[in-house]
């Protein structure tokens, strides 16, 4: 996160994105989003609209999408709010990309539970494929970020790629996911552990066994 920065405001950037405007579908969606908020509080829509804008940029560039400065200015004028307030929001949340990213933005969790379960190996595997923080791989497919906890500790280690989480990873399973994505396929999101559906206990139930059938009051046993 420390290396987050805004893409410089250059004439080339202005030329590419200066005439950004909602597509027809997104214009309708933007109206729906703004209508969720009470009269006079339209500015609250800044976060969903920034996301929408990022997705539109992504669709135009065939990447996950990012927020060039003219696009942020467009959102600011759309909501009639000061541009600096929009930039504050966009720079605060790491889900908004401030610089161009590849088609797949690989975010590897490196926080303690994932690290204990082998996230270091996943990071090494990513590096081996040419991914490097803050860079887009030569084929334009991959961007890489090491992130903090994504809340999937029960199925650690995990990786988030664009909108999907891939959990219970090993190097081999990650390779399989990445290869599938590179081929243009859509691998199954969620846990990659065979036989596991979500984050239910792996193997047999180890505690709270008395509650499998119906409710059980443990308080007397404490």
């Amino acid at each position: 996160m420390a290396d987050r920065h805004l893409e410089p405001d250059t004439p080339e950037l202005r030329a590419r994105w200066g005439n950004f405007a909602w597509t027809e579908a997104n214009a309708a969606q933007a109206k729906v989003v703004v209508a969720r908020y009470p009269e006079g509080r339209q500015r609250s829509a800044v976060m969903p609209l920034l996301d929408l804008a990022q997705r539109q940029v992504g669709a135009e560039t065939n990447t996950q999408g990012w927020l060039p400065i003219p696009v942020m200015e467009y959102v600011a004028s759309y909501l009639d709010m000061p541009i600096i307030r929009v930039v504050e929001v966009a720079t605060f949340y790491t889900m908004y990309n401030l610089v161009p990213v590849g088609k797949f933005h690989v975010q590897v969790c490196g926080t303690t539970p994932c690290m204990l379960r082998g996230s270091d190996d996943l990071i090494a595997a990513c590096h081996k494929r040419g991914m490097k923080a803050g860079h887009i791989s030569a084929d334009g497919l991959w961007s890489f970020t090491e992130v903090e906890c994504m809340g999937n500790c029960a199925s650690a280690p995990m990786v988030q790629i664009n909108d999907d989480n891939y959990e219970d990873l090993t190097v081999e399973r990650l390779d399989k996911v990445l290869d599938a994505l590179a081929r243009g396929e859509t691998p199954k999101a969620g846990t990659q552990e065979p036989g596991r559906h979500t984050v239910e206990p792996a193997g047999a139930l180890s505690n709270l066994t008395a509650m499998v059938g119906d409710n059980h009051d443990y308080r007397g046993e404490w």
Binding site: M1, A2, T91, F92
Partner: protein, 671 residues
Amino acid sequence: MPKVTVDGVELEVPAGATVLQACELAGKEIPRFCYHERLSIAGNCRMCLVEVKPGPPKPQASCALPAADGQVIRTDSEMVKKAREGVMEFLLINHPLDCPICDQGGECDLQDQSVAYGRGSSRYHEHKRAVTEKYMGPLIKTTMTRCIQCTRCVRFSEEIAGVDEIGALYRGENMQISTYLEKASTHELSANVIDLCPVGALTSRPYAFEARPWELKKTLGIDVSDACGANIRIDARGREVLRFLPRNNDDVNEEWLSDKGRYQADGLTRRRLDRPWIRRDGKLVAASWEEVLPAVASINPGSSIAAIAGDLVDVETMYAAKKLLAELGSHLLEGRQTGMAYAADNLAAVNFNTTFAGIETADAILIVGSHIRNEAPLLNVRLRKAAKQGAKVFIIGPVWDPTYKAEFLGTDAAILNKLPQHVWDALAHAKRPAIIVGGAGLARGALEPALAVSNQLGFVRTLEDGSAWNGFNVLHMAASRMGGLMLGYAQKGGIADLVAAAPKLVLSLGADEVDYSKFAGSMVVYIGHHGDKGAHAADIILPGAAFTEKDGIFVNTEGRVQFSERAVFAPGQAREDWTILRALADAFGVNVGFDSFQQLRTSLVADFTAFAEEGLVDYGALPAGGGEASGEIVYPIADFYLTNPIARASATLQRCSAELLHGEIQAEAAE
């Protein structure tokens, strides 16, 4: 009214007070960085932690905690001491130890509070965060590594200035304060963030590395850059004024100062008239006092003498000139240099009667021909407060950005003769209606119809709570205006009367905005401090003192008499203006009745008792008005930063004008 106990002392605090305010009422000092009386509460520095019972068993941020009945607050317990030490230690983790090269040194909240509440030594050995400098314009110098992220500057720009220029980008440890894309901060009050910054992150760029606060002699003065009469502190070292800082005065400037008032200090040392000059063969040549006084006397004007007061002169100077002219048998006094000729026989009609503090509470305001942000930035802060509380604001004149919601009715002054129905209704139904007539309005004859509106709708009234309300206001732009009008510096026909009288001698008291070509047949004697337009047109120049170089009385546009004190002496052979006028009396062989400044003031107070003490002058009742306004409104101030001779001489303000108003890009020298 909740009753709380602070360190064992029970006291009652006003409803809605915070625990911090309760502690202050009890006389306890609470350290703080982010909390500021005039800004919203952020609660992010955590320095104001105190122990509060009942409540969770941990220190609480007192600035954001409402005082409640029965609270037992401790500011002196071991828990509080430890909490403060801890917070201070965290704040200092990323704060550089560069006090010796920091301009804030000696007047730094962080420095003072770390001495008072800190641990005394650091346990931190890791790397400190470093942040790149952010460009914020020609006035604000940034050293962002020093920032402790109190966000006072962000809140000032959003809440007080109303321009949303400054923001906090990124998050956590990487949070950075910046303007959007590091553009220059352009608001006329932008430099107040320098005073608000509790550390050395935002400091004054023109004042960088000039002096330490303990080297400076502090003098209480009055700002003359506009007619607000902001209270300032003049900081001088030796013979040079180094900076102006605002003083607290809730009735006038709260604690803000316009950028022009703050940064005209360097203009006081440039383009100065430090010796007499006399025109020989069409060219001004340097002379001595011994030469010029007889030269003035040899003009021998008799009663054919007129005096024009400039925008920056004090009441004493104008009074001394008035006495001199009276002794010579002339009453040709005028201060409205640009030729305005509104009636000045009833001063209530040309006064800001609502007062600045009062206009905050107005609920409907009609502004006629005034670009308030340029003409009185400090008043715009008040109007913004009123508008935020729901006041409806209507403006007649070309469009400008008021920073609050306002309706522009058009640019023709004639709109005032018959106001649109919805404006009339809004003013008629308002509890506290107000009208503000600016200089551009006065020039189009808006004074009389404005008085008529105020009269018809009863803008002078007694409010429900029994207090008096006077909603009629005229906003002047010159610091000397109200004082001059009180002394009678107003002819019926304005300056045209002086031209018509074709006096042999025109005494120009720092009048730099006059069209002197109309006085081609007169000898012009200029008493002033800057080599500006007036000096160029003069036949004889008598070097006078600037407002920092003399004691003086100024009356602001509210009719508030305020005393300014001398901070330094005038340079070279320049003298205080009243002594020059006294010497002229000798040269003309008349007796003006005073030999010392004290005698001058005594005589002044004897003639005009209102000048005896500071405070608002009572000008009596408003006239009824009548008449009609007509013509396009044109705001008189084209360049906010260069409105008076001192400002025009200031390199800082010249740069502000070039960069902020005319968009010139100033190349930074490589350091």
